[in-house]
């Protein structure tokens, strides 16, 4: 994974302290309380590892940040500016340079790669027609340079359903890279990947940090998060139960805490 991201974010954006901050956020689906009173923030150039069991609310949290879901209550701030919830959307998040690589499928299976890279942010000409030639050109460049798909028979015209899990994840990450996010949200990006591909993702995250970007990294593999994160936030049943700098929590301590949480659930169900 190359480090071709521009080194400096735009000038006017240097002044903020937190790229994103959530204050007392609640999220309910019917009678299910997915998040309750969550405070969460990400510094300007910080990698935050978000950890929690299945159903802890991690994906819900990042869906709020990326504009897919609207919180039931609470406040969201982006670059220290309060966000109007009624106008916050995926598109708005993109405009604010927040990019998300979702855990669930985030590509259109039957669509060619060039459409997948640009959908929602199409390059259009003066009369509103999609500039197909340009989109394909950039897509092919990305495939060759950024993802290293050279010689695998994958082109801008390839259909997503022909790709492996790792290749799909690569496309989703390449999409986030191309749009030069200031905050990249990665929801379990390594789940479908082979070992050597996992290293690529980890070095991509580190590269993002050295490029001045921030990152939220959700991961089940505790060793991976612990390796790259600056700060660790542990969610449990919709609540933040721990928020520490990495130096304050060793991998062994983190592991035993997660096991304790998990067993706690077991007792609850028994």
């Amino acid at each position: 994974m190359p480090h071709s991201l521009p080194a400096t974010p735009a000038r006017d954006e240097q002044l903020f302290q937190h790229i994103v901050r959530l204050e007392r956020v609640d999220m309910t689906f019917g009678r299910v309380q997915a998040l309750s009173q969550v405070d969460f923030e990400v510094g300007r150039n910080e990698i935050v590892g978000l950890i929690g069991d299945n159903g802890a609310g991690k994906s819900t949290l990042i869906k709020i940040i990326s504009g897919v879901l609207r919180p039931t209550a609470g406040t969201v701030w982006v670059r220290d500016q309060r966000v109007d919830p009624s106008s916050y959307s995926v598109r708005r998040a993109h405009d604010l340079r927040i990019e998300t690589v979702h855990q669930t499928q985030s590509l259109g299976e039957k669509q060619p790669l060039w459409r997948n890279l640009f959908v929602g942010r199409q390059i259009v000409g003066r009369f509103g027609f999609i500039d197909v030639k340009k989109e394909k050109e950039i897509a092919n460049q990305l495939l060759r340079k950024a993802i290293g798909f050279r010689g695998q028979g994958i082109t801008a015209e390839s259909t997503v359903r022909d790709l492996s899990g790792g290749e799909r994840q690569g496309i989703a990450i390449a999409r986030a890279m191309h749009f030069q996010a200031d905050l990249i949200v990665l929801d379990e990006p390594t789940t479908a990947l082979a070992v050597n591909e996992v290293r690529k993702v980890l070095s991509f995250i580190e590269g993002a940090k050295s490029g001045g970007r921030a990152c939220i990294y959700i991961e089940h593999n505790l060793a991976h998060v612990h390796e790259v994160a600056d700060r660790l936030v542990i969610l449990d049943r919709g609540k933040v139960v721990r928020d520490v700098k990495k130096g304050e929590l060793s991998l062994a301590e983190l592991t035993s805490q997660m096991i304790a949480l998990h067993e706690g659930h077991g007792d609850g169900h028994a």
Partner: protein, 342 residues
Amino acid sequence: MATRESLTARLLRIEGLPISTVLLLLVAVFMLVAPEVFLSYRIYMSFLANGAPLLVLAAGLTLLIAAGEIDLSFPSVVALSGWVLAYCIHQHEAPWLGLLLALLAGALVGFLNGVLVARVGIPSIIATLATQFLWGGITTVLSEGLSYSLSDIDELLVWKLLVGRIGPLPVQALWAVGLTAWLWLVLNRRRFGEHLLFIGDNAKVAEIVGVNTRREKTRAFVLMGVLGAFASVLLTLENQNFFNTQGAGYLLEVMAAVFIGGTSVFGGKASMVGTVAGSFIIVMVEAGIVATGVQGFWVRAVVGVVFLAAVVGHMLIEGPGKGITRVRLLRGKFGLNQGERS
């Protein structure tokens, strides 16, 4: 794996090529069997005149099916808008107002469909089945079950502009082809069309990438309503007559045209070129069978055979969902690339 694409793969990528070939083969067969009819231009002018409403409807429906939705209510739009136009001409001698109100009626029906499907969340097959009854019924009430004969409307400018003749060429064919070309652009080159494809592919993915699925779906239904109304205007003016069930025959034929053309019933994949070929196949089989001297009773059976053959053909070409694998397999089958099956 090879980096060069085989000829087969490249040919398969040309939109609607297989079904267009079928259409041309069909024309050739008809020319052989009934040369006196099919070697004269008049039969084609008749196809163009009568096929125009079908093509407009099928092109519109292609967009909706691309988005994974369906509209069963367009036959009632064909009836309702036809009545609105006929009423304005017949009772008030206001054809332009009639045209405007007819299109508006279509837009309203479409908007209601869009609200029911995209906002209320009723599956489109149910919502539009219900509105099909609703507007069909209302048309019967409004027209009191009567048909209107619109004699002398071929004197009107609106008639000449929409369904007149340039030499032997029916003007409605130009409208239909022009609209279809525009809809091809909408589907393949506009954000709206791309959004519909992603919605049909996977609505959750569409939302994740920032598509406003509810708004785009509603727009698609409104567009279908307006196109249904326009088809109705062409039909009513061409026939110089309105009757309150005038859309009923179109429902299955239009759907058949779209699916024969290779648009996926599962959404996310659509071929406007295929729809054009499918529409002409439907129109031509009907006239062709009769012209070849076979009893007219056979028409539907032959349409069924062509339909099935087309669907099976598309399945073979598309494969069970593995594009590259499919091409590899095809190459293997044609002996072009032995030992490379995956």
